[in-house]
Amino acid sequence: MSDNSATQPASPGMAIDDEVIIGLEIHCQLDTRTKLFCGCSTDYRDDPPNTHVCPICLGLPGSLPRVNLKAVEFSLRVGKALNCGIAHEAEFARKNYFYPDLNKGFQITQYDKPIAVKGYLDIEGEDGEKRVRITRVHMEEDPGRLVHKGGADRPKYTLVDYNRAGIPLIEIVTEPDLRSPKEARRFLNKLRATLEYLGVFDSEKEGSLRVDANISIQPKGWFEREGKGKADRGRVEVKNISSYKGVEKALTFEITRQKNLIRRGQKLETATRHFVETRGVTTSSRSKEMEQDYRYFPEPDLRPLRVCDWAAEIMLPELPDARRARFMEQYCCSPIHARTLTGELKLAEFYEKVADIDTALAATWLADTLLGELNYRDMSIVVVPPEQFRELLELLKEGSVTDKTGVEVLRVLLDQLKETGSCEGPRACVDRLGLRVITATPTLAGEDPVVKAAKEAIAEQPQAVADYLAGRKEALNFLVGQVMKKTRGCAKPGDVNTVLANLLEEG
């Protein structure tokens, strides 16, 4: 890991010879049908509390866990995709602590024998391609969900729903190899894409990914010299980050906070802080964060996993890097388009459904136009019916709509989707709004709408006409704009150019 000299400080005002050190712990829910240790359905999100529970995930006395084969297989896929070594023998262990979201007073996890260790994931770093090392990947069960009730007028208490208890999680721990919030975000995006490509994770599900981040600011080069665990400045663990955007926000906030402390010469204590998503800040954990002693020991109700041979048989699907290379080769995508289009499984699949119309047109309209419009509306690609988008691409390809009206149609359709979940056909939409392209007749006849609009523009803008005739050819662009406005974007810019030039020549 040698990013030296050229790196910009991650935050303005930071000493040029300091650098940000970030390591992540990511919890992802595995997309199995049933929970990790019982047959309860994982499809709990819209259901009433405590309706997806049984004696096992409720932790009733006498119940015993049983390992979900699929969860193990998914974990092996993740381990392999992250280039990890698969453990000769993995083992479940109990992590003992008392909290009402724990149904048994302990969490079944993996401790000194995780299923996979020592891997890496390549990302686009601040200085080009960067390898982020993975420390370990382990399996564990999700705790239940707590709702905190009461307030000033009422004694406080907690409500507990165990529907989430026992959902299989995979925890992925990185080495502290990330150097900026942007790198952290890119790592997460790449990881998410990888997990989705593996078919083990559904990022659309609320709360399916949670991140804890370790962050410190150290003198440049310190980390390479000293390595982990020897921080001369304290390290903060930010817990409870539950969205992709939140990670960058939380880290940026924390860097500013630490930087200010350092600047004031204050000592930064190693501590745990919580990210408050709504306010975009991290706060000190008030709970007595006394030295936790989890008293790990092997789970006596379960048997070890010896799954090396099985792991070797598992064939991985095409992963984001491979797909990116293929998109460049097969569809001649630009490197930037290829990266964008393969950065999300659903997007890549969407592209391949429409690419046959025109690979370049589809790439541009998908990566540049559609994604922007979706982000603006906070919508996901999954709500867009590919057939409708195909139809729009066809309209564009055959020249039935201009780029400009194409965007307009897209916006109308997306607004309909957002409101009602469905939308009219693009062709119908174009006709309804009268946005079909207007083709100018070469005769310059007065009844031609383009010619009519051009004549109006010439009459209304004598100055521009004069400029043009005086040899300032850029004045034509202004007139073209006027004509486009008058034709509501339905005219082809090329036609308008020709018509205007001819009319002006005629004088």
Partner: protein, 89 residues
């Protein structure tokens, strides 16, 4: 030699709620028992014992969950389908 403050620490770790009056007796008994456990110091580490049985799995197939009223039948303190627990914040 375990002292009363050690017992208090263990009781805190175990969240067992020990009273001041119980301390001396627990401490004495602990010392006697731990002295006996010292015999384990003579045991040589023989390397990890291997279970013969491994890879015990179930298929990822949905089994019925309990009806909500049965889930909540053993608490008198349910609220809107949730269990009620003391505050943690």
């Amino acid at each position: 030699m375990i002292e009363e403050k050690d017992i208090e620490h263990i009781a805190m770790l175990a969240d067992i709620g020990i009273t001041k009056e119980e301390l001396p007796e627990f401490t004495g008994q602990f010392n006697e028992i731990l002295d006996y456990f010292d015999i384990l110091d003579q045991v040589e580490e023989t390397g990890a014992s291997e279970h013969e049985l491994a890879n015990v799995f179930r298929e990822d197939e949905i089994e019925p969950s309990l009806p909500q009223d049965e889930v909540l039948a053993n608490t008198r303190d349910a609220e809107d389908g949730f269990f009620r627990a003391p505050r943690v914040m």
